[in-house]
Structure formats: C-alpha cells, structure tokens
C-alpha cells in the first residue's frame, strides 16, 4: 500500500537533531520501559519464527524425506507446529505491547504539550500564529499516531528480518547467498531513488489536495456570488483545472510506485532463477542439498519484501521525526510568566498602583515607558488614545497578562509578580471585547474560571446582572449547548455570558475592553445594564472607544506615543485643551455632520 508520510526539505533532520529527538523520545518512553523491552524481545522471537518455517522444511527434506527417515520428518512437522503457535502468540502480544507503549506515549505527549501551551503567556500567543500553534497538537501529533498505529512494528521487524535472513542464509549456504546478493545493490539504489521520488510526489499531492479542497470550499460557500454574477461556467472550468492538476499529481505518485514495485518483485524472482541455476550446480557437485535450494527459494521473499516495507515507511519515519522535533522544541519554550514559589494570595480589596512602568517585546522597541498611575479602590478609569499607542498593553500589564520590563504594578501594596496567579485572576479580571464561548452549556461557559462553582452560584451571578430570566428562556435553559444549531447566541448574548463569568469571579478590579462593533439593538440595552451592575462597587479600567464611556468615568487617561500623556476628569481635560480636548471636538463635529 501507498505510504502517506512526506517531509519538507527544510524539516528533514540532520544526524545531530535526529539523535537529540531520539534521546528525548526515549526519555518520554521511560514509563513504558517494560512494554518496550518485552515488545523488542517478542519481535526477535517472531522474526525467528518467520525464518524457522522454511528452515524446518529444509531439514525435513534433507534429513527426513530424502533419506526416507519418517521420524525426522515427523519431528520437523512437530517443530513447525510449535513454531507456528509461538509466532501466533508472539505477534499477538507484540501488537498489544507496541500499542500500549505507543498510544500511552502519544497520550502523554498530547497532555504535556497542551499543559505547556496553557502555561505559555500572552506574549507567546501574540507572537505565534494560532494556526501554527494548533497544528502542533493536530497534524504533528497525528503524523506520530500514524507511525505508532501502522508503521513502528513493521519498521522494527522489517529491519530485523533483513539482518536475520542474511545471517541464516549465510549459515545455510554462503555460496548461494553471495549469488543472491547480486541484485541487492540495484535494489538498494532503486529504494533510495524511490524514497526520494515518492516523498517529492507526495508533497505535491498534498499541496494539490489542499488547493483543490480550498477551491471546492470556495465554490460551495461562494456559490451565491458566482450565480449572481453568472460565472458558473468560468468557475467550473477553473475548478476542473485544479482538479486535473491534482489528478496529474496523483498519477505522478502512482508512476513512482509503478516503477519501483517491479524492481522489488523482479529482483526476488530473478534471485529465484539464480538460486535454481547456481543451486543446481552446487547440488550436482555435492556442496549443498536440494532442501537448501528449496529453503532459499522460500526464504528469498524475506529478503526483498522487508526492503520494500522499509522504503515505503522511510518517509513516514522522517516526517514523524520532524514532528517530534517541533513538539520537543515547543516543550522547551520557556514559560516567562510563572508563579513564584513564595507567592502570596492577594487581599480582597485595595488600590492598584502603577510605578515607572515600561514594556517592550523581546528585542523590540519599547511599547510603553515611564507610566505612573494610581487607581484607588472603587474608582473608574477610562483609557483612550489612538490604536497602537499602548492603551491595551497598559491594561494587560495592569492585569498581569504581561510582565513589565521596567517598573511594577501593585495591588494593595503587593507586586503582582509576587501574587498567586489564581488569586490574581480572581481579584483582577479581564473581560475581552468579544464574548468568546467554549463548547458546552451556558452553565459551563459561565463557570469556566471557577469550575467548582455550583449551579446556584452561577444562577446568582446571572441574577446579579439581571440576566437569569433571559437565559432561562432558552429552549433548554441554562443547560442549552451554545454551539448547537438552533440555540446559537447572538454577539450581544455572548457578551452577556462573558459578563456573567466576570460576575461569578467577583473581582475587585475589572479590566474591560469596550466593544467596537455594534450589537443587535435588543441586547445592546441589556449589555449596557449588566455592565452597569457589574461595575458597581468595583475598580474599573476600561479601554474606551465611545465618548460617553469616557464621560462617565471618574478619570480619563490618554495614552499616546507609549506614554500616559494626560490624566484627569473629563471636564478637566476638555478644559486643558490638549489631546483629549481635540479628540472631543472631532467627535462632536462628526456627530453634527451626520
């Protein structure tokens, strides 16, 4: 069957990398040491059994049949029965053992990589593309799964079988073996060429499959636009061309297989011819017996078939190696936002104070510098300013989603870096701009940060925002699955769930990123009201996009050019005639022209 693995040139491991990957993998396999050892022992046993069959036939012919010694023949038959039973049991056990070790390894790898991903902080997610991060846990681990489920056992037993066959054949008759080795250099050369060609061919197939599928997807989801512009025929032709190029890529890979297969099959049969020819000569001069010739004829398939298996598996092994390397590198990515060993719990209330705060991405220019700011308990601060000036970075630093590169942020006098992460997140909670929902019910979604919260507590949180009735009115109430068709929530309702999460967390400080996109008018009012209730009695930092929000805040901070350039009440700042005042004028002017 066709091998499905392929590896890009730049991902191919060199010797040092391969050794490193193997060492790391061996270390992770440590808990399965027992299974691995037993599996290897059993592979040796079953390889022996594969070779023992033809050998017993040879013994039966040369010692039993030809001399007419029925006792020896019966003995050979009995031995064969034993060998067959042993082979059966050994194969059975080794399939299970390899799976126990391999699947266990994969499970450990998945949870470890994911746990590590969860520990990595926001700067990592800002830096890496989400698709790439996800692909570590999906396509990279999947390519390993393919190896574990389909290839690993075959790989080991093929290698062993080749070596063992050569040894046994040499012991039985090295003269005949030498003749049989004649086509081997040709087969090896063909196998190397095949492995390269099929890798290249398969990479092309993979690309073209991707292209065809995306063009298929576009043709289906864009069918309304295509029909609206009467472009069906053009799109059909375009798709047919893509599809045709996929067909050609498939045929290229079929050609590579169709060229290599005859080499393997031909080599084995040509060897049979050689064995008969030279074997006949050796039988005639008494060097070997007829049974040896029969043994060679039957055992030859053990020499060439494993070579075929190996060359088919080679690409899978390489791509798995590349995947493992990426995964281990990810596991080695340092976690920069860690809880100190002597971390303390934050008190229930307190002022939030920012002192000489500066932030820069690793190796980058400073995003923020020299920010000093105090947010007394219960006060509301609106941050305004042009996009990219640093207002959301400031908000994230105040919630310790990032660690500052200079200065510090303290809550109730405790540096946030000295606080337990869990208590920090319950004291200071960030409500993102858009309500993001996870698969599960509304209940699950509200208690995402406090999974131990009871249904009653969730209800209380919803009720505190006056939202309980709204969600109980859904077909299945709070147990409604949010991703199921029919109970999909609108953007506004998602935002409400997000606010309820914050209410359940009951933080002292709320960090809000005001939504920039408009909500449906029905829920807009509800969101406003819920937000009002949520903010009551808490300190609030809001990244404001609306003037009305800024007007309502106790103080307004204008962030521009990486610094806090103005700070004061709305009235003060308008009166001061600075940046805020000019923003205000633009806004009033914009409203008037509508």
């Amino acid at each position: 069957m066709m091998s499905m693995g392929a590896v890009d040139e730049e991902d191919r491991l060199d010797r040092a990398q391969a050794q490193w990957v193997l060492r790391r993998a061996a270390a992770m396999l440590a808990p399965y040491r027992r299974e691995v050892r037993r599996a290897v022992a059993l592979v040796v046993v079953s390889t022996g059994a594969v070779l023992a069959g033809p050998y017993l036939l040879k013994v039966g012919i040369d010692r039993g049949i030809r001399p007419g010694d029925e006792a020896v023949l019966n003995l050979a038959v009995a031995a064969y029965v034993v060998v067959a039973v042993v082979a059966y049991l050994a194969t059975r056990a080794q399939v299970l053992l390899v799976s126990l070790a391999g699947e266990g390894f994969l499970r450990d790898l998945r949870t470890r990589v994911f746990d590590h991903l969860l520990r990595l902080s926001m700067p990592f997610y800002d830096r890496e593309k989400a698709g790439v991060v996800v692909s570590r846990m999906t396509s990279d681990v999947d390519s390993l799964q393919e190896l574990v489920q389909q290839g690993l056992l075959q790989l080991v037993s093929s290698l062993l079988l080749i070596v063992a066959s050569i040894v046994v054949l040499a012991i039985v008759s090295w003269q005949l073996l030498l003749w049989c080795l004649l086509p081997v250099p040709f087969v090896v050369w063909a196998s190397i060429k095949f492995q390269r060609d099929s890798n290249a061919a398969y990479l092309t197939v993979r690309d073209r499959i991707g292209l065809t599928l995306s063009s298929l997807q576009e043709g289906i989801s864009g069918v309304r636009v295509i029909q609206a512009y009467g472009r069906e025929s053009v799109e059909i032709d375009r798709f047919a061309r893509r599809n045709r190029s996929l067909y050609r890529a498939h045929m290229r890979s079929v050609f590579v297989q169709a060229w290599y297969l005859p080499v393997i099959e031909g080599a084995a049969l040509v060897c049979t011819a050689i064995v008969v020819w030279q074997g006949g000569r050796l039988v005639a001069d008494g060097t070997v017996e007829v049974g040896t010739v029969a043994f060679f004829v039957l055992a030859l398939s053990n020499l060439f078939e494993p070579m075929n298996q190996l060359s088919q598996l080679f690409n899978t092994v390489q791509s798995s190696g590349a995947a493992l390397k990426k995964l281990f590198e990810l596991l080695d990515t340092p976690v920069d936002l860690v809880e100190r060993p002597d971390a303390v719990a934050l008190p229930g209330r307190g002022d939030l104070v920012v002192e000489g705060l500066g932030f820069a991405y690793a190796g980058g220019d400073p995003v923020l510098h020299d920010v000093d700011l105090a947010l007394p308990e219960g006060q509301k601060l609106a941050l305004v300013g042009p996009t990219g000036a640093g207002k959301s970075t400031l908000a994230k630093l105040m919630a310790r989603l990032y660690d500052p590169t200079e200065g510090r942020v303290c809550f109730a006098g405790i540096d946030l870096r000295d606080a337990e992460v869990r208590s920090l997140r319950t004291r200071i909670t960030v409500v993102p701009q858009e309500g993001y929902l996870f698969a599960g019910s509304i209940l699950d979604n509200v208690r995402i940060g406090r999974p131990e919260a009871t249904d009653a507590e969730v209800r209380a949180a919803l009720a505190s925002l006056d939202l309980l009735e709204r969600f109980e009115a859904l077909p299945e109430g709070l147990a409604s699955e949010v991703h199921e068709r029919g109970s999909r929530l609108s953007a506004g309702e998602r935002q409400l769930v997000s606010l309820a999460r914050a209410a359940l967390a009951d933080p002292a400080v709320l960090v809000l990123d005001e939504a920039t996109s408009s909500l449906d008018p029905g829920t807009e009012v509800l969101v406003e009201r819920a937000l009002e209730r949520l903010m009551a009695g808490r300190s609030v930092i809001v990244i404001a996009h609306r003037l009305s929000t800024a007007e309502r805040a106790d103080r307004v901070g204008v962030v521009a050019d990486g610094g806090l350039v103005e700070l004061g009440t709305h009235a003060e700042l308008v009166a001061r005639g600075g940046r805020y005042a000019s923003l205000y004028r633009t806004w009033v002017g914009g409203l008037a022209s509508a």
Partner: protein, 601 residues
C-alpha cells in the same frame, strides 16, 4: 430525493463503462502478471524434479532461464497493472468530482440554503475517496481471482488430496480478512472522531486564549483535553486489540497449510507418490495465495462502503436545478431598468408562512429607492427575487416589462447587480475580486470601480496594492474593507439595476459618507434599490418604501413618511439609537490610526 444503494452502484457502473478500455488494459496486465507469477513455482518444481534429482544440469539451466524470463514478465506487468488500476480509479474520482462541482454550481439557492458546506465537501472529498479505493480493486480483484483459479488447477492436477489439505485453511483467510476490515472500521472512524473532538478543544482554547488566561481557566481546559486524550487512547487501544486478534491469525493460517504440506506431502514423497519438486511448489503456491485471498476479503468491506458513498454522491447528482433557463428566452431591450413586482407571494420552504404576500412595487428606470423595514420584514427577500435566486410562488417579477422567468439567467443576472449583506470574497488578488464579473476588464476600470466604492485609498496602502492576495492564505481585510470590495465588484459589472442589501453595515461611519458621495455618482441613471438602516444612507434615495409583514405599508419621500408614518418613525428611531454606538471610532481620533486598525483586524 432518496437514492438507493442500487443507484450508487449504477452511478459507479456507468462511470466504469465509460472507462472500459482502461479497465480492460488493467485486467489484461493483471492476467499476464498472474500467468508469469503462477508459472514460477511450477518451473522450480520441474527444475528440481527433471534437473537436480536427475542430475541433468542442462535442464536446470533451461528452467532457470525460463524462471528469469517469467521474472521479467511478472515484473513488467506488476508495474503496468498497478499503474492502470490506479489511473482508472483516479480518473473516475476526478471525473465524478468535476461533475459534482459543476452540478453544485448549477443548483438553485434554496438547495444550498438547506445544505451544510461541510456535508457537500465530504461528498466531493471523502465519498469520492471511498469510491476510488474500491475502483482500484476492480482490475486487481479480477487478476486475483484468476490467480486463485490458476493455482487451484495446477495443484489439483498434481495432487487433489494435498491440494485440499494445503489450501483447506485458506478460505478462512478470506473470511477473517473481511471480518477484520468490518470490525476495524468503526474504531478507525472512532479514532477520527475522537481526534476531531480533541482538535476542537485545542482550537477553541487557542482562539479563546484571552478568556482562558483572563479567568485562569487553564485547569478547566487542561482537564477537558485530558478527557479527550483518554478517550482517544481508549478507542485507539480498542483498535489495537482488534488488530492483535486478527492480524496474528491471518499470519497463522498460511502456516497451517505449510505444515499440512510438509506432514502429508513429506510422507507422500517418501512413499514415492509425489515428487520433491511438487512438494516445494506446493509450499510456494500456499505463500503465493495469501495476498490475493486477503485482498478478496477486503474488497467486500470496501465495496460496501463505496456503495454507501456512491449513493450519497448520486443523491446530489440527481437533484434537479429548480431555477433554469427558459426554453425560449426573451432578450432584454438594449437599455432600461424598470422593475415591477406584481402580487408576489413567496415563502422559503413549501408550506411555511410566506415572507412576501401580495407584494406590489414599481420602480421606474433610473430611480433610487430605499427599502426600509424591521428585521424579517421581507425586504432582503425582495432583493433576492429580482435576480431570480428564488422563483415566486405566485404573482410575477418583471424587469423592463419581461417576466424574469422568461429571461436567460446569465443575461438577467448581468443586468441585476446585488451586493449581499454578508460579503463573500475569493482567495485571489484584490484586482481579480473586483473584476469578478469581467476578468478581462482593463486595470483602469478596476481602479475606477474601487474609487467609486471608496476602496481605492486603503488598497493603495496594502503591501502589493491591487495585486495583494486576500483570503485564507493571503491578507485578511476588515469587514468594512470587504464590503467596499464587494461594492466595487458590483460597480464594475455595470448592471442596469443595482441592489445594495445593507452593503455598508460594517463600514466605519466616518468613512461611510465618502462612499455615499461616490455612490451618488454610481446611482445616477441607474435603477438602485438600497436596503439600509442608517438614516444617512436612506437619504440617498429619491423615494422610500417601508416594508412590514411581507407587503408595502408606506411609500413616499423620506420627509413624507417621516410626517405620515408612525411605523417609519419607529424603525428610524431604532436605527438612530445605534448611531451613538457606531460613533466609537471617532474617539480613536487619528485617521491614520483608524485605518491601520481596520487593516490589522
């Protein structure tokens, strides 16, 4: 439209009939391979019996030579049979995929409304893959059957009793292989499903990482993943247990045959009833039969899956497009743009409540009207009936006095340009997206269309300007930018009737007035129907039509309606309530920053 398994078979059968010569070539190659392959053990037997056992070295060399010839023939044909089997299978897959795609392109909107993209994708991908897998096996199976028969004949002629003993256990290989494939399949599907569920947890965690971090939900998500990883482990191990039950048994059965050959055959040789060469040949034949018998076991399971897939593909292909060209189309007059809805009744699904009922509307050529109404009032439906995306249940829709059902679809749809509320752009360059209606349009007209849609400015700031690739693998645009490209696309098509269905809803209000100015130019001398919520956009129209409950409830100028219609005032008030909200961008002040925010989002 229900298709049966028989329809599925018929679909594949007809396709293969069209490729019969390719299949025949594959079968012939397969038979030649069989002949060469089956002859080898027999030749070995003769070399032993007539050569080695007789001490006739010449005979040995002669048979060795023949084996070499058979080796070359078998090698050549094994390549050919594989190549032609896969060529026909891949060709069938490609042809069916083309047909499926072309058919989907012609199916009416109502059909697509009822389908999920993922389902249709899986027809054109997974189902065709299943069919391909089975088609490969057609020529291979014929050759395999021939091999089994040929071996049987050779062996029976040599020693019938030994044949029964040697091959007696082999039919079990066939049975076991079939049961293996059938039993393993559900766990393979299970592995796929569990993998998908695990991926879903990873994807939503990465996409919602801000929430996860903000609420310290790391442990919750880690536990969810651990559960999924355990499930995946369990189903994988279930598969491993099935493999461990069947795989060793499949390897054991040929050994039973080989032991029989040695036990019974050995004594026969000693007694002189069988030649030594035949004994060796029997061994080789048992080994030779293992693979063909395993494959014959698979094909049953694979054919069943392929038939189910073919049935699903057939179901799509036999659905008739409901909206088609008339037999004798009437040509449109050279110019015009007069639109008339006459007593139109329409509902999206047969039997459901009509969305429009008794809808009458006349728009003289060149007029701009605004359709205003609350959500689900039916105003977007009006827009979809004119280009005949759906056919009316009763009444008629006329363009320049001709019922749209009497017009050629391509001509009608070139005459009516509709900008949808939800923008769909193709993964291609910006220029190609704008020139969608007319790919040969000169660059000048692309730029002109972009200017009129208020898109020229931001396109100029993109990395490669008009040649910037957008979409999945390219640059991602903001909602407002996408809408402006869609408007430019409609402008370039130069339709006589232009419909803008809430087409500027995502455009930043501070930018919208620029587009409005440009749109006035586009609307001049062109019938335009604007569906809008923003009062400023409504103000563009010569006339306003208020739709409620599937019919027109008020008709007049903006000022007239404002004065006379309470319902109109309510709709506008709702829209105005959102205007403050939509003002948000003003606070970001810096216009360059505002654009860069759109670009980045």
């Amino acid at each position: 439209m229900a298709s049966s398994v028989r329809d599925g078979w018929a679909l594949v059968g007809r396709q293969l009939l069209g490729q019969r010569w390719g299949i025949v070539a594959g079968v012939v190659a397969g038979l030649a391979w069989t002949a060469a392959k089956v002859s080898v053990p027999k030749l070995v037997q003769l070399a032993i019996d007539r050569g080695m056992e007789q001490g006739d070295q010449d005979a040995v060399v002669r048979y060795a030579g023949l084996i070499a010839v058979a080796a070359l023939v078998a090698a050549a044909f094994t390549g050919l049979r594989r190549y032609s089997a896969f060529r026909e299978a891949r060709r069938a897959e490609a042809v069916l995929r083309d047909r499926l795609f072309a058919h989907l392109q012609r199916l009416h909107f109502a059909y697509h409304d009822g389908q999920q993209t993922g389902q249709l994708m899986s027809r054109a991908n997974n189902d065709l893959q299943q069919i391909q897998n089975a088609v490969v096996l057609v020529p291979l199976t014929i050759a395999n059957l021939a091999t089994v028969l040929a071996v049987l004949v050779v062996l029976v002629l040599t020693d019938p009793v030994l044949t029964v003993l040697a091959l007696g256990s082999l039919p079990l290989v066939n049975v076991l292989a079939k049961r293996f494939a059938t039993t393993l399949h559900p766990t393979m599907v299970g592995v796929q499903q569990e993998s998908a569920e695990l991926s879903a947890v990873v994807e939503e965690t990465v996409a919602g990482i801000r929430v996860v971090k903000g609420f310290a939900a790391e442990d919750t998500q880690a536990r969810r993943l651990a559960t999924e990883a355990d499930d995946l482990y369990e189903v994988s191990m279930a598969g491993a247990r099935i493999r461990s039950a069947y795989w060793p048994a499949l390897e054991l059965l040929p050994n039973v045959g080989l032991i029989m050959v040695l036990a019974y055959g050995g004594h026969q040789v000693i007694r002189g009833d069988l030649t030594l060469g035949s004994l060796v040949a029997f061994n080789a034949y048992v080994v030779l039969l293992v693979w063909p018998l395993r494959m014959l076991g698979w094909i049953v399971a694979m054919a069943q899956r392929a038939a189910a897939s073919a049935q699903r593909v057939h179901e799509v292909l036999v659905t008739d497009p409901a909206v088609t060209d008339p037999a004798n189309p009437t040509p449109l007059p050279a110019s015009g743009g007069e639109v008339r809805f006459r007593g139109v009744r329409f509902g999206y699904a047969p039997g459901s409540a009509p969305v429009l009922d008794g809808f009458d509307l006349h728009v003289p050529a060149g007029q701009t009207i605004a359709l205003v109404g609350a959500t689900a009032s039916g105003k977007s439906t009006v827009a979809k009936l004119l280009p005949r995306f759906y056919d009316v249940d009763d009444g008629s829709v006329l363009l320049d006095g001709i019922d749209v059902r009497g017009l050629e679809l391509t001509e009608l749809r070139r005459a009516v340009g509709l900008v949808f509320e939800e923008t769909f752009l193709f993964s291609d360059t910006i220029a190609a997206n704008i020139a969608f209606a007319d790919p040969d349009a000169p660059p000048d007209s692309v730029v002109r269309a972009a200017r009129l849609a208020g898109a020229h400015e931001f396109i100029g700031e993109l990395p490669h300007g008009y040649d910037t690739e957008i979409g999945e693998r390219g640059f991602s645009l903001s909602g407002g930018q996408r809408q402006r490209i869609a408007i430019a696309r409609a402008i370039l098509a130069d339709p006589r009737v232009l419909i803008l269905d809430d087409a500027t809803s995502a455009v930043d209000p501070t930018k919208e007035h620029e587009i409005r100015d440009a749109l006035t130019q586009v609307m001049a001398n062109r019938t335009t129907i604007v569906i809008a919520h923003r009062p400023a956009t409504i103000a563009l129209a010569d006339r306003v039509v208020l739709v409620a409950g599937g019919r027109i409830v008020a008709d007049g100028t903006h000022a007239e309606l404002l004065a006379a219609s309470e319902a109109y005032r309510e709709v506008l008030a709702a829209a105005a309530a959102r205007e403050e909200q939509a003002r948000h961008a003003a606070l970001d002040g810096d216009p360059v920053a505002a654009v860069s925010e759109e670009t980045a989002s």
